[in-house]
Symmetry: C3
Subunit: 177 residues, 3 copies
């Protein structure tokens, strides 16, 4: 589908520099850029992270909040004129879906269908959560299984996949030449 | 030892797609294939995982259970005619050995000696468990140390080592040209 | 700054072989070598690890303890004649700084300034701690955030960055040709 826009997935552990790498990829496109935030500013720690992220991003960014309906968020960003979009992040989106007892498979299907026909370049951020010791808690084990599955699905749908480690990008899947 | 069969280690976090990558590598060899399972179908969660894995694998696979004596399991698979073997997975094998208070070093030595003279190609799956926060629990810390040591030993014995991230393979050690 | 000595950062999970890779890099330089240890041999588990590491290192190594003032430790190693230094490890140093309620940003600034004008080659070891499930404990979350930030800062200051997995080195940042 050479006529469709590129889809990039950036994965990595906590504070691996993945959001910064993803932002730089979006900012390499012409502005304005849509920031599709899956975070809900509910608790203090998350609100602080959102402020930190927002302060780092410069002009040219428009924020759309999409804690559950990511496709609607992407559509809204494009309708508002975004010429490239950043989704930050899929792991939090998954957490929101599970909390809302939504159908994760259907939501992932919908996202992947949208990405296959993305009207503008999209960069998605996600987290590596499965490389630690097996959690004692069954819910935590279930969450990391779901997160791993979602990462695999979106990675399969992406043109390019990057692993962030210590702020440095490592290419896991290169765009077709 | 050019006359010996190739040994491949596939490591990765939970739900990183490592088993699928490993299965594809084995299925690239002529059938039949031996599936050497280290899992014990004791609890419900594990039984469910085994069913899931078994359903995904197609015809051509023969399962051998080897929760403690992995070398005996590999020998049994070869004796039954397997022309390539998959071991899934070393981390669970380690867990079984520790639970049985077996000699882990001796077991690892035995496995590495077998691999050095493997009569058929073997692909082994293992887990990255040491990239999370340091566990509070001393047993969990000891387990992840043992798991890391085992991974290093088998990686040193392997001809090829692959890291799976988001379903994608990253070569850590390439077979000698 | 081509006249300054090379700075290498080796990161990886627990028991990923990062210390061994780092030691080999230092031992490729002319002896004597300075081992700048950030560990405090307080509890039994850590004392055992230090003994294990010390036994593995051969002649040619001189140990300097630097649990808080890493720059002073590096200066002391150089003053004692070290022609290359190993710092093992940054994650423990961070833990010591936080425990002492020291100013982490100022300490990281000081280290990075020293590294920019390093008089001898330096190899620093650090840990990947952010690729597991999100810790329930707020202090653990804060620690892994700080550890990730420190890794990013030192990686940016380094000429070369290596990720250790299963004892194998993966280049994240290559020295400028």
């Amino acid at each position: 589908m050479a006529s469709m826009a590129s889809v990039v997935l950036v994965t990595g552990g906590a504070r691996s520099g993945k959001s910064r790498i993803a932002e730089a990829r979006v900012e390499a496109q012409p502005a304005p850029w849509g920031y599709v935030a899956t975070a809900e500013a509910g608790d203090g720690e998350m609100a602080e992270r959102i402020r930190h992220h927002r302060a780092r991003r410069g002009a040219g960014w428009q924020t759309v909040e999409a804690s559950l309906d990511l496709v609607a968020g992407l559509d809204a960003a494009v309708a508002a004129g975004a010429r490239a979009c950043l989704v930050d992040c899929l792991t939090l989106w998954l957490s929101n879906l599970l909390h809302a007892e939504a159908d994760v498979d259907a939501a992932a299907d919908g996202l992947c269908r949208w990405l296959a026909e993305a009207p503008v370049p999209v960069v998605l951020v996600t987290n590596e959560v499965g490389a630690g010791i097996v959690p004692l808690n069954a819910l935590a084990r279930a969450f990391r299984d779901e997160a791993g599955r979602l990462n695999q699905r979106v990675a399969a749908a992406a043109d390019e996949v990057i692993l962030a480690v210590a702020g440095l990008p490592l290419t896991l899947k290169a765009p077709a030449g």
